[in-house]
């Protein structure tokens, strides 16, 4: 089963299809630049994997923490929220977060 996913596209399609009959429709602004991730190795994988479910301001606002904290967060996203992230990407993301958003 293909797991590739473009949430913006799906949301847009839903909005357009529903708008035809809806009595009330709103359009959300794009992700704010406040969510911009700090540059560093692993940023592309992190941005791509994390932002398929949520904007990256979820990351930048969190308390800083070591690899143990970020490993816990990434594991929770995979095990609890079912994020389809493979082991290699998870490792890359934890390393990126611990470096850029570490203590």
């Amino acid at each position: 089963m293909p797991r590739a996913f473009a949430p913006g596209l799906v949301a847009f399609a839903l909005a357009v299809s529903a708008a035809a009959a809806a009595d009330r429709t709103i359009v959300l602004p794009p992700d704010d630049r406040y969510a911009t991730l700090a540059p560093g190795p692993g940023i592309e994988v992190t941005r791509q994997q994390c932002s398929s479910c949520h904007s990256t301001d979820y990351i930048v606002m969190q308390p800083r923490g070591d690899a143990r904290q970020w490993d816990g967060v990434v594991t929770k996203m995979i095990k609890v929220y079912g994020a389809p992230v493979n082991d290699q990407d998870a490792k890359t993301i934890v390393e990126y977060l611990a470096k850029q958003y570490g203590n």
Partner: protein, 401 residues
Amino acid sequence: MSDVSRREMVKRIAGLGTWLALSRPASALAQPDAVLAGRPLVRYPEKTDLILLTSRPPQLETPMKYFARAFTPNEAFFVRYHVFPIPLAVDLATWRLRITGRVERPLELTLDDLRTKFPRVAVTAVNQCSGNSRGRFTPRVLGGQWGDGAMGNAEWAGARLRDILTAAGVRQGAVQATFDGLDKPSFPSVPDFVKSLDVTRIMDDPDVLVAYEMNGKPLPMLNGYPARLVVPGWYATYWVKHLSDIEVIDHVFEKFWMKPAYRIPDNACGCVAPGTAPARTVPINRMTVRSFIGSPEGGSRVPTGRPVTMKGIAFDGGHGIQEVQVSVDGGTTWQAANLGADLGRYSFREWTFSWTPARPGRARVVVRAFNAIGESQGRQPLWNPAGYLRNVIEHVDLVVG
């Protein structure tokens, strides 16, 4: 779009701080709010300028200036979602509220049915996120790093939930009802946002509503149009938005958003030693006592020797606010504030306090409230790992002179 509104869209809190610094001697300024530092003011559909927490799903925080008054305007009311995508369009021709499960007569109600087949009931009640003020926890905790603006007070009107369940006919053995809305996660593996309440609690409480009006108007889309659950006195996690499905069940519902999410330590304070984990937890429920100063805002300048009227609000989990006290000496001595109109035991209670600052310099004004059963607020914050239930005594720092 006009230049003015575009400028509003990109206005930043950090920028506002810069403006204040330029217009006044920096040395005289109170510290800016570290939790809100750098977070932009944004304008979302049907909303005024609010403080951004996250873009997707949208989470927006109400600026403190709105908490000088009892009612929070719909356009300034905070926004909180759990999963994405969220409903961006609703068609009342097809929207239904379905009541299923252990009932005699499953129902499918239109919004018109809700308006015409059940008495319209109004209750003024505070809607506060469980994690309001989480950004202030020490040691810090993971999660939405809210300041204090994930709360608001409105007059909610709609049908009593117990009238709806009575119309459906609750069968023997019913234990809880579950509540689901139109917001559905992008992946099937992500837990759908579903909450539950005990059937006895619903049938005993005439103020639990399915609300289709907020301050006399339809709900804004981002606050749950066309209808949401209203559970006065309890945290907003139970106030399911875009409500679409109620199921009566014969057991205690323990899916993700009831367990392990939204749990508090199973003890009187809902707290544990900072940095530790509770041995047992229960679902979060009734709100703690809180009080805030909405005006003047922290960092404001007030004149020496002239009276300034401090204004704010206080609330609790439904016993009602009995007294609000203000201290201008950092909590050593306290004086009673004047209470505003009593809008019901679930509402913000407005208060005012006239104070004449005697000396120039920095001043800290502190507020605390007591409810009808004597509960109040502590000088030291209580801690739990999820960052819930915050109710420490609050203050603003002002510059006198």
